[in-house]
Symmetry: C2
Subunit: 227 residues, 2 copies
């Protein structure tokens, strides 16, 4: 268990998973530094949720870094492709953003090195996001190895970087149950890929459906506002 | 040797190394896609040089992505720390930017995946930049492994990502000689960490000194303009 003096960089998307992941970091006694990447999402609701979560968790410092991944295209989340509704697929979904977790962890690593932090928390989950290659344990392990080769702090032995993915093998229901046990207020998190102009969730995109099923399976009520 | 139909993403900083690295990619028959990261450098001369190099190499598409690493601090190149002049050191220099190559390769990987490209060229060099952990062969190899775990294209086996660092084990003189053999016009590249307002190089920072010594060792004249 970490002492109170240790810093952790926590990636915050504004969604339920990264909120819960940051909750684990807080519960472990870390001083939290929140990093949100504004990668040209189609809506601002996620960024607003990330800011609320940072405040709620009393994060020491919250940085929102602009990085326009729309310049590359290739995903329904960063381009004009339509977000799929009410579909089942075992393929990698069109909402996959190329190299997203690699990019986000790289940025977190850069900031961690400046802060003198060696712990990076990410809400990656391999159960409900089995289609995303960068949500798997072997990806997380490979990034951790890379981090210790890539940095002055890692190479000089000032510490050993750890990529902490506490939700990796949990179901959505388990994630939600653990967050509720920690007392997290999920009403401030945002999951929907396609909210309306009032920020209300659609209830039909992959992300909403996984969230709703998770709350149902956990025997809890989703406090998000739906259209 | 690659066929003419293959695409490569080439990282272009505007400096001599990435110019030469892109020259290797062109010589190998790749169709070039140039990527420049505007990470909040203290001067714009590098970005202008990158644009000139992209035009000179007849690059198919050149993207400049803004990413303000100054938000993190931690380097003389992205903060108000003074750039050292005329100093010798075996330590990692203050001009080291935390996780820079990891971040740049991650972005290149994201674009490569969208393009259907599997080759990424970076001008990393372990001889003259022995102090930078992310300029070593083991870092490059670790990133290549990561790339093939991190992406839909890598995991689904559409191809195998290769991180190509053709300059990795060359001295600066060898880099310059090979570029001159390829006919590269080095007058359009920019190396100085601390140019004056006219864009003229200082001749005294680490980067200028390594460049000047490289041209001298190669028995060639540096076409850059010095103060």
């Amino acid at each position: 268990m970490a002492s109170n003096s240790k810093k952790a960089v926590v990636l915050l998307s504004g969604g339920l998973d990264s909120f819960t992941s940051a909750g684990y970091a807080r519960a472990a006694g870390f001083e939290l530094y929140g990093l949100t990447i504004d990668y040209g999402q189609r809506h601002q609701a996620e960024l607003e949720a990330a800011a609320k979560i940072a405040q709620y968790l009393a994060i020491k410092e919250h940085k929102i870094i602009k990085l326009d991944l729309r310049a590359f295209g290739g995903s329904a989340l960063t381009s004009d492709q339509e977000v799929p509704k009410d579909t089942e697929t075992s393929d990698i979904p069109v909402t996959y953003v190329p190299a997203r977790n690699t990019i986000m962890l790289s940025l977190a690593l850069g900031w961690a090195e400046v802060l003198g932090s060696f712990d990076i928390f990410i809400g990656a989950n391999s159960v409900d996001y089995s289609g995303y290659p960068d949500c798997r344990g072997e990806f997380i392990a490979a990034f951790e190895s890379l981090a210790n080769l890539a940095t002055k702090a890692g190479v000089e032995g000032a510490g050993h970087f750890r990529i902490q993915a506490p939700l990796l093998n949990l179901t959505k229901a388990q994630i939600i149950s653990s967050g509720l046990e920690m007392g997290l207020d999920y009403s401030i998190s945002h999951s929907c890929y396609d909210p309306d102009e009032l920020g209300r969730s659609c209830g039909h995109c992959d992300s909403c459906r996984i969230r709703l099923k998770g709350f149902a399976d956990a025997g809890a009520v989703d406090p998000a506002i739906y259209q």
